[in-house]
């Protein structure tokens, strides 16, 4: 089930969209980079960790700010076009 539970500002949308893009880039790069490229590989691992922290931080910050409805077994989604937040439950 999908339910509209809120909306973020365009600036806030841009922030998570940039993090999302970077996360996808890092994940797909990880399939190409091998551990024998030490320097780059280590940078990638660090960046992925940092990205995850920032990503999670955004959801924490926003859910606190807007006090979105949530459930134990559900998760939120953002529509990048409309900036709307949806609650998805099984």
């Amino acid at each position: 089930m999908k339910k509209l539970v809120g909306k973020v500002t365009e600036e806030e949308r841009n922030e998570i969209q940039a993090l999302f893009e970077r996360r996808n880039g890092l994940r797909e790069l990880a399939q190409v980079l091998t551990a024998d490229n030490d320097e780059l590989y280590n940078r990638l691992v660090n960046d992925m960790g940092e990205n995850t922290t920032l990503f999670q931080g955004w959801w924490n910050r926003m859910s606190k700010k807007y006090n979105w409805e949530g459930t134990e077994d559900g998760h939120w989604e953002i529509d990048f076009k409309s900036c709307e937040i949806y609650l998805l439950t099984p």
């Binding site: 797909e28 190409v32 949530g70 989604e77 990048f80 076009k81």
Partner: protein
């Protein structure tokens, strides 16, 4: 509560439309098909891009980051048929990813790999492995022209002997494609002989599960007397079918657009339609072009416009005419005065190819009557649809949820 869940909804229109740089690799000039309307007059099996040329092009572009300030980039792969060179493409994309990251290039956080394919090799292991590896950065369009009859009218296999249509070889890959790219749209090209099949073709594509059908008439001067009337008739029939069948709720066809068919303000709406010059295309010889349409294999009667190469870089002087082009300067008076001008498109390459002198500043008006016919049908579509929605009390809902298809012209 899982919070790490972000859905990207971006199927409508082109990704980062207008703010992304498009860099096109013409990886091969070969194709399995010999489509009758194909503007590529110089297709061949010899001109395949080498890894050395591709790498030099990427290195040049990344070495000159300040010359490419656009926030985002679309690396576009075309042919011929690009997936004939899937090994090279895979190597190019891997190199791009690593180099962007290594250089901390601003495009690492905003890039896409884009393909226009005939769909024949879509299911092959190599193509599928590539899709899996780059899933979140891909945009793939498969060209299917409509019903089997319509598709096979133009999109035939290359070679001697009796004509053999390619419909069956493409349509088998549509379910897989839509599964992997649910919001994907297809591009349909209409030339004179296709007009009677427009309605059935669009409806057929909807029935295959394709929700966005981007159609345009060819820009070349191929139209016969009476084609505009036939075209208008087909579009009216299509309008009725879409409205009566309720397809407008979740399907879109680019022929029908609320914004077309209005006069354009000479001051405020003077921008060039085409993006030639803002794009960059590279061919197998390492030459740079303002758009693929300016490469020799695309031109019937003019010399190619080469704006540089991977060895010497871009000659910025040769980009100046493209970057300062505006609508009024290239348009004849009848277009400037036209009361239904909005949405009337042009292709800078075709303008150049058809011009009386070697210039990109002479707008071809071969599609004039076809545009006017489209405007008539378009007016009919919206007037009828809005009236129906108002009578049903659904106008507001429609406005909120409507699918907005931006015209794709190339």
């Amino acid at each position: 509560m899982s919070e790490e869940s972000t859905k990207i909804k971006e199927s409508e229109g082109t990704w980062q439309d207008g703010i992304a740089k498009t860099i096109t690799f013409i990886v091969t000039k070969d194709c399995q098909l010999a489509c009758k309307y194909c503007y590529l007059v110089g297709k061949n099996e010899q001109e395949r891009m080498s890894w050395d040329i591709a790498k030099r092009a990427i290195d040049y572009i990344f070495d000159h980051e300040s010359d490419f300030p656009e926030k985002s980039v679309i690396f576009d792969f075309i042919g011929g048929e690009p997936f004939l060179e899937i090994d090279l493409i895979d190597r190019i994309c891997d190199y791009i990813k690593v180099e962007l990251y290594k250089r901390q290039h601003h495009w690492f956080d905003s890039y896409r790999f884009s393909f226009s394919t005939n769909g024949i090799n879509y299911h092959t292991d190599k193509v599928q492995a590539f899709i899996k590896k780059n899933a979140s950065h891909l945009s793939i369009g498969i060209t299917i022209d409509g019903t089997e009859r319509k598709h096979n009218l133009n999109r035939i296999w290359k070679g001697e002997g009796p004509e053999r249509g390619s419909y069956i070889d493409v349509v088998r890959n549509i379910p897989l494609w839509l599964e992997q790219f649910p919001g994907a749209g297809t591009k349909v090209t209409i030339s004179s002989a296709d007009i009677p099949y427009i309605k059935e073709s669009v409806l057929h594509l909807y029935s295959l599960g394709i929700h966005e059908v981007n159609i345009n008439v060819v820009f070349e001067d191929v139209w016969q007397d009476g084609d505009d009337a036939l075209f208008e008739d087909q579009l009216m029939r299509l309008a009725d079918a879409i409205i009566d069948g309720g397809y407008y709720e979740s399907f879109a066809c680019s022929f029908f657009n609320e914004n077309i068919g209005k006069p354009l303000d000479p001051e405020r709406e003077n921008r060039n339609w085409c993006g030639a010059g803002k794009m960059l295309a590279i061919d197998s010889a390492g030459n740079f072009y303002p758009c693929t349409r300016f490469a020799a294999y695309s031109l019937r009667s003019k010399r190619p416009i080469i704006i540089g190469n991977v060895y010497d870089g871009i000659d910025k002087n040769k980009l100046r005419p493209f970057l300062t082009l505006d609508r009024l300067t290239q348009s004849p008076q009848k277009c400037i005065d036209c009361e239904v001008a909005s949405g009337c498109a042009w292709c800078q390459g075709e303008n150049y190819d058809a011009a009386l002198s070697p210039t990109v500043y002479q707008r071809s008006t071969a599609i004039c009557l076809m545009h006017k016919a489209r405007v008539h049908a378009n007016n009919y579509y919206w007037n009828r649809l809005f009236r129906k929605l108002e009578l049903e009390g659904k106008r507001e809902d429609f406005e909120k949820n409507k699918i907005d298809v931006k015209p794709e012209i190339c």
